[in-house]
Amino acid sequence: MAVLAVWVGKIVLMALRLGGRSGNALPGLIVEKLFPRYLPRALARLPHGVVVVSGTNGKTTTTKMLAAALAQKFTVLTNDTGSNFVRGAITATVDASSWTGRLRADVAVFELDEAHAVRFVEVVAPQRVLLLNVMRDQLDRFGEIDTTARLLRTVAQAATVAVALNRDDPRIAAIGTDLGTPNRLGAEVVWFGVAPALRGLFPTDEELYSGAQPDPGSAGPVQAQLRDWGAGGATIALSPGDAATDPDASVDTIALRAGGAHNAQNAAAAAAIAATFDLAPDLIFAGLRAVEPAFGRGQSFTIDGRTVALHLVKNPAGFRQSLRAVEGEAPDEVVIAINDDYADGRDVSWLWDVDFAAHLPGTGTDSSGPAVRTTGVRAADMAVRLRYDDVPVADIQPALALAVDAAIAAAPAAGRVLVFATYTAMWSLHEHLVDAAAASDGDGPKEATR
C-alpha cells in the first residue's frame, strides 16, 4: 500500500511540476483521501520520529533552523515549503520516499498550523513538539486566542519524548504548567526564553493590547536562552540545567542570515528542541549559522543596484516585529502590500492594531524618513490606516508589481527598499522580484541574502 500511495503522490507531483506548478497541497490531499493510513505508517519507521513545530509566528523560519541543526547529524525530512497543513507534510513525505516506498530519513520536522497540528497528532504520535507563541492572528479562521492555546495544549499532550516551550509567552507557559513534566506520555518539558534585558523586544499579546506584564508563573529554568542580540548576531546559551545561570553552559554568538530579533528568538527555540537529541551544542550552532532566510521572511534581492527586502506580515505582533527593520535598515522606500484573499485573511481590521506612527515618519517630522507607498487589493484601506497615524502616503497603487517598481525607481542608486506584504501579495511579489533581479543581472537569477 505504501508503494501505491507513494506512486500516486509522486505522479501527481511530477504532473504539477511538468506543468510548471510548484504544488505542495494537491499530491498530499489526494494521498490523504485515498490512503489515510499512509502517513502514520511511513513516519513510524523514522528512527528519531517526528518533531511538530507550531505557534502563531515564526513556524517556517524555526522549522528551517531546526532542520538545519538536525541535518548536521541526521537525514531530515521537512515541509520547508510553507505548506503547514497535514497535506503539506504528506507531500513532503512522498517526495522524500523512493519509488519503492522507502523513506530515506532519520527524523521529520513538520511545521503545522494550530488546527492542523491537532489533526496531525490524531494520526501520528510525534516524539517531540516545539511551541513558539500564541498571538492574535486572522481570528476569523481559528476563532479566539484562548481556543488556539487549547489546540496547542492538545498537541503538546501527544508528545512522547520532549516538549519545548516558550517561557516568555504566558499562554505557552500555562501549557507547561498543565502538562507537568514529564507529560502523561513520558515526554520531558524543556524551556526556552530570552534574557530579562531583551524581554521588551518580545511583547506578549497581553502587553500589546493592555500593557499588562505577564506573570511567568511556574515555568522552570530555561535550557536554551537568547542571552544577547545585536549587530554581532544572536548569543545563545545551552545547558541541560539552567542556561541563564550555568557557568558551564555552551554559548555561541551566531550571525543569523535571517534578520530581526524575532528570528534570534526562533533560533533559541530551535536550539532548545535540537538539544533533546543526542547532538553536540557546536553542531546545533553550526546548523543555525548555515540557515538561509525562509521564503519571503527577510529575503532580499538586488535590482538595478538597489536592495529590495521582502517581509511577510500576517498579524499585528509579526508586523510590529518586522517594522523594527525600518529603524535597523534605514530604507529609502517602504511599500506595504495588503491583499485580502482567503490565505491573507479576509478581515483587514488587524492593521489597526499595528502602531505605524512609532516606526514610520509622521507629518510634521523632518523628511529624512522613507517614502511610504501602499499596494495590493486593500491599498486604499492601508492608506486610510496610515492617514489616521499621520503617516503621509506617497502613492496608492493597487497593482503590486507597479508599486514596487515605482519604489525601486524612486530609490537612489545603491538605495534600499523594504516591502511588507501579506501572504498572497508576498507570493506574487516574490515571483516578480526574482524575475526583476534576473533581468537586472546578466548572470541569471540571483537572490542576494543578507
Binding site: D140, G143, E144, S210, D347, D353, D381, R387, Y388, D389
Partner: protein, 233 residues
C-alpha cells in the same frame, strides 16, 4: 471627552481604531479632545460626550461581566441624557437585556438597548456594507451571538448581502436615541466617515455647540469603502 470603555479587555478586530478615528477627526478640525480609558473598577466620567466600546474574547466578556453591571445605572442615565454611545459586537450585546450563551448560561446586560442575544454554533462572518441615513457604513462582521430587536429598538440599517443581527430578519445593529450598537468591526468608522462625523455632530449638538463640521478630505476612505463593499464575504 471620549470615554473608551474596557480598552484592555474589549479590543478585538481593530475596534480601538474607532477611538483613533474620532480623535483625529476632531484634532484635524482644531477641536479639543480628551480620551479617557475606563476600565474595571473605574467610573465613567460624568462629562463624557461620546462613549466607545468594542468586542472582546469570550473570556474577556466574563472578566468584565460583573463590572459592567455596576456601571449599569450610570450607563442608563447617560443614555437617557443623550450621551452618544457606539458599542460594537460584545459591548453591543452587553448594552442589551441579556446574552444567553450556547451552553445555557445567562449573562445579564445593562438594559440600555431593547435587545436580547442568544449564542449559536455558527459564526456570521464577512465584509458587510449597509446603507443608513448617513451614507454607507462599511465594516466586517464576525460573531456567533444572534441578536433580536425588541419593540423599543429600531435597526441601524437593513442588510442586503450580510447577515447582520441574526441572519434572519435582515436587520443590522440598533439605534435608540444617541446609542448605537452594531456588529461591524473594521473598525467601522475608518471607512464610514459620514457616520463618524454624525457621532461627533450629535455629541456637539447635545452640548449646545452648534458647530458646522469643517469637511475633511475623505476620498481615500471612500475609495477603500467601495473596494471593501465589493470584496467576497
Amino acid at each position: 471627552m471620549l470615554a473608551h470603555l474596557y480598552p484592555h479587555e474589549m479590543n478585538i478586530y481593530g475596534d480601538t481604531g474607532n477611538v483613533l478615528v474620532l480623535r483625529r477627526r476632531l484634532e484635524w478640525r482644531g477641536l479639543a479632545v480628551e480620551v479617557v480609558p475606563v476600565g474595571v473598577g473605574t467610573a465613567i466620567p460624568p462629562t463624557t460626550d461620546i462613549l466607545l466600546g468594542g468586542g472582546g474574547q469570550d473570556a474577556a466578556q466574563g472578566e468584565i461581566g460583573a463590572d459592567v453591571l455596576t456601571k449599569g445605572p450610570d450607563l442608563r442615565a447617560m443614555a437617557a441624557d443623550g450621551v452618544v454611545m457606539l458599542a460594537i459586537c460584545g459591548m453591543y450585546q452587553l448594552l442589551g437585556h441579556e446574552f444567553l450563551t450556547h451552553d445555557g448560561q445567562r449573562i445579564p446586560g445593562v438594559d440600555v438597548l431593547d435587545v436580547v442575544t442568544r449564542g449559536s454554533d455558527t459564526r456570521l462572518i464577512g465584509n458587510h456594507a449597509v446603507d443608513t441615513a448617513w451614507g454607507q457604513i462599511v465594516g466586517y462582521e464576525n460573531h456567533s451571538g444572534l441578536t433580536e430587536l425588541g419593540p423599543a429598538a429600531s435597526a441601524l440599517a437593513a442588510t442586503s448581502v450580510g447577515k447582520g443581527n441574526n441572519g434572519i430578519d435582515r436587520t443590522e445593529g440598533c439605534l435608540t436615541n444617541n446609542v448605537i450598537g452594531t456588529y461591524l468591526h473594521g473598525p467601522v468608522l475608518a471607512k464610514s466617515p459620514a457616520f463618524a462625523d454624525e457621532l461627533i455632530a450629535r455629541a456637539l449638538r447635545r452640548r449646545g455647540d452648534e458647530i458646522d463640521l469643517e469637511p475633511l478630505d475623505d476620498a481615500v476612505a471612500l475609495r477603500a469603502a467601495v473596494v471593501a463593499a465589493g470584496r467576497p464575504r
